[in-house]
Each structure stands twice: as C-alpha cells, then as structure tokens.
C-alpha cells in the first residue's frame, strides 16, 4: 500500500520543462527526502501533489484520492518554503485559526505550540519572532490532527542544529505512527541520516532514489587517506607511497572504497615510520554533488 503515488509526472511552463517524467511512491510511515538544486523542480512537484498546480501530464494519487480534492486536503499537511505569517497575529491566534479551518477544537493550540517549543512565545505577536520561531509556527500547523501525508518544503532552513535535531525527533514520532513524509532540502548534510530514502532531482528529472548507503555506493567516490610520518622518516614513507602528495609534512592520497584494506596493510608494514593516519570517507555533500553532476 502506498500513501503517495506519483507516476510519470511532467510540468511545462511554455517551452520550459520544470518537471520531466518523475515517478515516486511513499508508503505510510516512510520518510523520503527530496534533494535538488534551486529550480530543480522540488517545490513544483510538491505544489502539484497538493493540487495547487495542474500537471501537464502524469498521475498523482493520495491514498487513492486526486490531489486538491477535499479528502486529499483532509489527509495532507503542508509546510511551504519561507513562510512568514501575518506579523500582527500571535502564534496562538494563528494556530487556532488553522485548527478551526481543519474543523478541530482551538484548545489543541497550546499543546501544538508546546510541542515545537513555542509555549512561552504563544501570546506574543509573530512580528517579534525570529526566523526559526516562524518556521516552528509553520511546523506546528503541519502537525494538526496527525496527518497521513506531510509535505515539507525546506523545513529545516532557518533552524539551528539543536532545533533541527528536535525537528527530526518529531518526524520520527510521526513516522512511527504511520505518517508518510516527503520533505525537500538543498543539501544532503541537512537531511543527515534521519530519512529512509533519498530522491535526487536534477533539472526536473529524478536522477537517484534509494537509501543513503545505496547512494554512497552508486556515487563510487574515492576515500582520502592522510599519513603523518615520524620525525625524519618522510623520505622513507614517500618512497613507499609514490602516489601520495606531500604538503607540510603530511602525505595525502586517494583510494577506492574497495582498496581501503590494501592501503591499511601497506601502512601496517611501515608502522615504525608512521606516527598517525586517517581515512576520510566522501562527505554527504560530495556524494550529492557527484550524483547530480554525473546525471547532468
């Protein structure tokens, strides 16, 4: 069973193709991160899922309902990018309004605001909030009524690392109760290891879809190795590792993921001449850039 099923979705604006034959499915309880550069089509895809934009071709189904239908809207929560709410309203008033629009009792507002850490600021005007606090108001409204599907457009932008952890903890809790989550981000490092699957969009096309370890394997990026020889042993080590570059007394080289053990063996045979060594796996952002580039 799938909560969100997107098949062959295409959106054209005049001659420009914003989204080109994208398919994606999300099961209940699954957390999917959608990555892509600015203009890759992330927001466009989300707006079509919400029924705010009509697709040029392709199908979208939200638990069997068409996007924008009353049933689909009842099931779906949304957090738009860069949301700023009306500065004259208090956080509590704004959330009460959203609760009433969903036909839920306004008393739930306090609990929702406490959940996102805004209990103390609830009676203050949103105009006095920081960017991160406004983002939390947006998050609080998305939590209304434990939605079956959550569409979050760049939800972690403006959040500090501590708030980001708390945000992912909230998502974990929702996913554990069966909420399907689709969130977008422009960086793999923001998503961390807190999602089940990662889909990468590049120029309107889906170029990757899988777990982080699968992406890491597909990217096939080399591992960086650094060696620090003992005092006076630099020449000896340099001869043993002719492929390494020497900068400021440290030797740096790269190797394939699969060759790590061979390098380690060579290092151990020279253990008397080497003071220290480090392996640096490719960073999450390196992997993301590599996949986006190789597809282009």
């Amino acid at each position: 069973m799938t909560m969100l099923q997107i098949s062959n979705l295409t959106k054209r604006y005049g001659g420009q193709t914003a989204l080109d034959g994208v398919s994606l499915s999300i099961a209940p309880g699954e957390r999917v991160a959608m990555l892509g550069h600015n203009g890759a089509g992330k927001s466009t895809l989300m707006k079509m899922v919400l029924g705010l934009l009509p697709p040029t071709s392709g199908q979208i189904s939200i638990a069997g309902h068409s996007p924008g239908s009353r049933s689909a809207r009842d099931l779906t929560a949304y957090l738009p990018e860069n949301i700023a709410f009306h500065p004259a309203l208090t956080g509590s008033e704004q959330i009460c309004h959203f609760l009433r629009l969903r036909g839920r009792p306004a008393q739930e507002a306090d609990g929702l605001l406490a959940k996102v850490g805004l209990a103390d600021a609830a009676k203050r005007r949103i105009g006095t909030y920081s960017k991160g606090m406004r983002q939390r108001v947006g998050l609080a409204q998305a939590l209304i009524g434990s939605p079956a599907l959550m569409i979050l457009d760049e939800p972690t932008s403006g959040l500090d690392p501590v708030s980001r952890r708390e945000f992912y903890a909230l998502l974990d809790e929702l996913a554990a109760h069966g909420t399907a989550i689709l969130m977008s981000s422009h960086a793999l490092s923001e998503v961390e290891l807190r999602t089940d699957r990662i889909a990468i969009l590049s120029k309107g096309r889906k170029v990757a879809d899988g777990s982080l370890s699968a992406l890491r394997r597909d990217a096939a990026l080399p591992v960086t190795v650094q060696l620090r020889p003992r005092q006076g042993c630099s020449a000896q080590v340099a001869v043993a590792f002719p492929e390494a570059k020497q900068v400021g007394g440290i030797l740096t080289m790269t190797c394939l993921q699969t060759d790590k053990l061979d390098i380690l063996t060579r290092i151990t045979t020279l253990r008397d001449t080497i003071q220290d060594f480090d392996f640096f796996p490719p960073s999450l952002d390196d992997i993301y850039v590599q996949i986006s580039r190789s597809a282009a």
């Binding site: 707006k47 919400l50 029924g51 705010l52 934009l53 009353r70 809207r73 009842d74 779906t76 949304y78 957090l79 738009p80 990018e81 860069n82 949301i83 700023a84 709410f85 009306h86 004259a88 309203l89 008033e93 704004q94 309004h97 959203f98 009433r100 629009l101 969903r102 036909g103 947006g138 409204q141 569409i151």
Partner: protein
C-alpha cells in the same frame, strides 16, 4: 463551511484592528463629516430646507470620494499580502475554498466600512440636532439612506480592491493600481462625461447615452439615488432637476448589481492566481 468563513472573518478583523485600519477609516470619516456638518449648519433659511438635509447633500459628495478610497486602502492587500508572506499556498492546501476565504475577508473589511460610515455620519447627525433641535428630524430618512447606500458602495470597492489584489500579486503594485482605479472611477470618469456632454452640446449623446453612463458608475449611482430620493436634499444640492430626470430604480439597481458583479470579478481574478 460557515465555521471556516467565521474563522477567516475573525482573524481578518483582528488583523485590521491591529493594523489601525479601523482607526484611520473612522478618523477620516468623522473628521470630514464634522467639517461638512458644521459648514452645513450655517443659516440656510433661503432654501427652505432643514439643516440635516443640507448636510446630507454635502455628505453625499463625501461618500462618493472617501468611501471608495477607504475601501480600496483596506482591501488592496487581501490577496497580494498573502502571496508575499507565502501563506496563500498554505491556505489553499487547507480544506477551505477560495470563495470561503474571499467571503471571510470581505465580511471583516465590510465591518470596518460599516463602523466608519455609521460613526462619521452619526457625528454629522449629532451636529445637526445640536444646532437645530428636533427640526433636523426631517432630514433623518435621507441620512439613513445615505448610510446604507454608502455601505453598498463600500462593498463594491472592497471587492474591486480584492480583484486588483489578486491580479497584481504584489502589494506595491496592488496599491498603485488601487489609486489608479479610484482616480478613474470617481474623478476622471465624471470629467470625461462632462467633457463629452459639453462637446455634444445637447445632442443625442446627452439625452440618450449620458444618463446610462452616469448610472453605470457605482459612485455616480450613489450620488444620483441620494439626491433624487429626497426633494430637500436635491434642492440643497442644487442638482434636483438633473437628478430627478432619472428614474429612482435605475441608480439603485446599478448599485446592487455592482455589489454582486464586483464580488464575482474578485472571485474570478482569485481563481486565476496560481500559488
């Protein structure tokens, strides 16, 4: 449906109160009404009309100019502001329709117009009673007529302001367009008609087309209806002859049709907005 409209109404009213739109609208209406009422309270025995009727004649012009302006100022931000804050796509993703959003906003904005008009013209009535005692009672029906027709005119321009807001999608552009619409509808339109009548020199245009064009403008319709509906007001304005050559139902129908037409235009413009 009523709950969602009611909630939108409440939140929009709270915003309007905190933005001081209500105080600004009330201050403008009361100030101008007071000035006109005091001026109208000067001895006017020669005309043989009561003082309140004289005041209503001047207040009619105030309604024609000020009510559309206040309405446009209150409503130009309705859609463009939501677009700017990024809240429009969110509201449209909620189980609430575009029509419900517009109705909620219109109702809240109309409350401001009602309060401003009632307080402004209530002040004028008090001044008239102060100066001429119960003799001002004769002008009371004319004043009440002016109050409710002004509210109708306000509804027309609130909807037109919402339409402009939906079409321009940026608050600054919407503000510019709103001022433009006000100039055209209440100033340039009449000047254009005047020029055409002068050039026509009593020809077919003046006798056949001009009355219809005059009635077709909601602001002019308000003026004609109020001047023609009361002999005293018409006499005080000095335009009785001109106004009474047009049947009463025409300007009233025009005003009512405009209320519905403008709301429909706003709804159609909002439908075209892709968030």
């Amino acid at each position: 449906m009523p709950l969602r409209v009611l909630s939108t109404f409440q939140i929009e009213l709270a915003i309007a109160l905190r933005n001081r739109w209500l105080s600004i609208a009330v201050a403008m209406m009361v100030l101008f009404s007071l000035v006109l009422a005091i001026a109208g309270a000067a001895p006017s025995g020669a005309l043989g009309t009561d003082r309140l009727s004289v005041t209503v004649a001047s207040l009619t012009s105030l309604s024609v100019y000020l009510v559309p302006l206040i309405s446009l100022v209150i409503s130009f931000d309705a859609i463009a502001g939501e677009v700017e804050r990024g809240t429009l796509p969110l509201y449209l993703a909620y189980p609430v329709s575009r029509g419900e959003l517009l109705v909620g906003k219109l109702a809240a904005q109309l409350v401001l117009i009602i309060v401003a008009v009632c307080l402004g013209y209530g002040t004028a009535a008090m001044v008239a009673f102060w100066f001429s005692g119960w003799g001002a009672m004769d002008g009371l029906p004319a004043l009440l007529r002016l109050v409710w027709t002004s509210i109708l005119l306000g509804a027309v321009f609130l909807s037109l302001g919402q339409m402009i807001s939906a079409l321009s999608r940026r608050p600054s552009a919407a503000a510019g367009l709103a001022i433009g619409l006000w100039l055209v509808a209440v100033v340039l339109y009449d000047l254009g008609l005047l020029a055409a009548v002068v050039a026509d020199d009593g020809g077919d245009f003046t006798t056949h087309v001009f009355p219809w064009l005059l009635v077709a403008n909601p602001a002019d319709a308000l003026r004609i209806y109020n001047l023609a509906a009361s002999d005293a007001v018409g006499a005080a304005s000095g335009l009785a002859g001109a106004a009474q050559s047009i049947a009463l139902w025409k300007p009233l129908t025009s005003l009512l049709v405009w209320v519905v037409l403008a709301a429909g235009l706003a709804r159609a413009a909002f439908e075209r907005v892709e968030p």
